[in-house]
């Protein structure tokens, strides 16, 4: 039995040390907002925050997450920056199929927390690990700028 700090709450789970954090989130805790995309840290769909840094939950052994603060899409709206990102996303209707969007919002929130008014280059360098097969990149960029303006 291990204890994880997820969205500010301790959660006890039974899992092997090398089980990916994503498996624990989705299959054990039924927190399905974080998506499985590629399983190899190539697409960004499974992005969560670990101690504030975007991290690919599909390749992080759950044992590495012990003692760290994990934030998932389910709780991102509880922070002012995360709330602004969600509102900008809704206002500009960023998602198309939506599958990658929880990862996109996690990455965008971390970016705005670190760089309050990012340039297009900052956005590219922060978001380039989050792939969108619908190609919503232009709307993602606009929504990040909008969320920054409304700070």
């Amino acid at each position: 039995m291990i204890t994880l700090n997820i969205n500010g709450k301790p959660q006890k789970v039974e899992a092997e040390a090398d089980t990916p954090l994503l498996w624990v989130l989705r299959d054990e805790l039924h927190m399905n907002g974080t998506k499985f995309g590629c399983g190899m840290a190539l697409c960004g769909a499974c992005t969560v925050h670990v101690d504030g840094q975007p991290t690919r939950a599909c390749v992080m052994p759950v044992s590495s997450a012990v003692g760290k603060k994990i934030t998932t899409i389910e709780a991102i709206g509880a922070s002012p920056v995360g709330k602004r990102v969600q509102q900008a996303w809704a206002a500009l209707e960023v998602p198309q199929c939506g599958y990658c969007q929880s990862g996109q919002i996690m990455a965008a929130t971390a970016l705005l927390r670190d760089i309050a008014h990012p340039t297009d280059k900052d956005i590219d360098q922060a978001m380039s690990g989050n792939i969108c097969r619908c190609g919503t990149y232009q709307r993602i960029r606009l929504a990040i700028h909008k969320a920054a303006r409304e700070a």
């Binding site: 840290a41 190539l42 975007p54 991290t55 992080m60 590495s64």
Partner: protein, 191 residues
């Protein structure tokens, strides 16, 4: 027959003496503190010029795969060699290889410091850089120069790269031997 073997031996011995007479003063005069055979760097180069080393001794960002393609996701060096502000190496690279070896990992995965860039350098230039404290992470003695390659987990990963990545051309044990020989000779570089 015996005569000719004897004559050949004399010729070979004279030639060897002549070479020694030329090499010793030439190398001493060449670099003062440097001595030893420049060819001693060749086996070192055969490892350090491989993709497992070169891919991270880069300027703008890491490269990957055996053909040294720019890292997917447009990964950049960032301010500290650990990626951009929120796309850090640790976003994907864990303390050990993951995803059946496809995602490489050791603790603190990162690029070599910018001062230790090898991008675009040839064998001689890499050798000279490796013994220059300004461009080798301030390693001053031959022992310090080879320490990184003997013990750094990032270097050792090259022998456990996962998936089907190419490993260096010799074992790490052999690599340490050629490094030690090269260091003991005073880190000679190709002319």
């Amino acid at each position: 027959m015996n005569m000719s073997i004897g004559r050949m031996a004399v010729v070979v011995a004279s030639a060897a003496l002549a070479v020694m007479a030329w090499v010793v003063p030439a190398t001493a005069a060449l670099a003062g503190e440097r001595k030893g055979d420049p060819a001693l760097f060749d086996p070192v180069a055969s490892v350090v010029m491989g993709p497992r080393c070169l891919n991270c001794h880069q300027v703008e960002g890491p490269h990957q795969k055996d053909w040294g393609v720019i890292h997917a996701q447009q990964v950049v060096r960032g301010a500290d060699g650990h990626g951009s502000a929120v796309l850090r190496c640790q976003a994907c690279h864990q303390a050990s290889n993951t995803a059946d070896g496809h995602v490489p990992g050791v603790p603190n995965w990162h690029l070599a410091p910018l001062s230790m860039n090898w991008q675009g350098l040839d064998k001689k230039q890499i050798c000279e850089q490796m013994r220059d404290p300004k461009r080798n992470g301030n390693r001053k003695t031959p022992k310090e120069v080879i320490e990184h390659m003997k013990t750094d987990p990032l270097v050792l990963w090259a022998w456990n790269p996962g998936a089907n990545r190419t490993k260096p051309v010799m074992s790490h044990e052999e690599f340490v031997k050629v490094l030690t020989t090269w260091a003991d000779a005073g880190l000679p570089c190709p002319n």
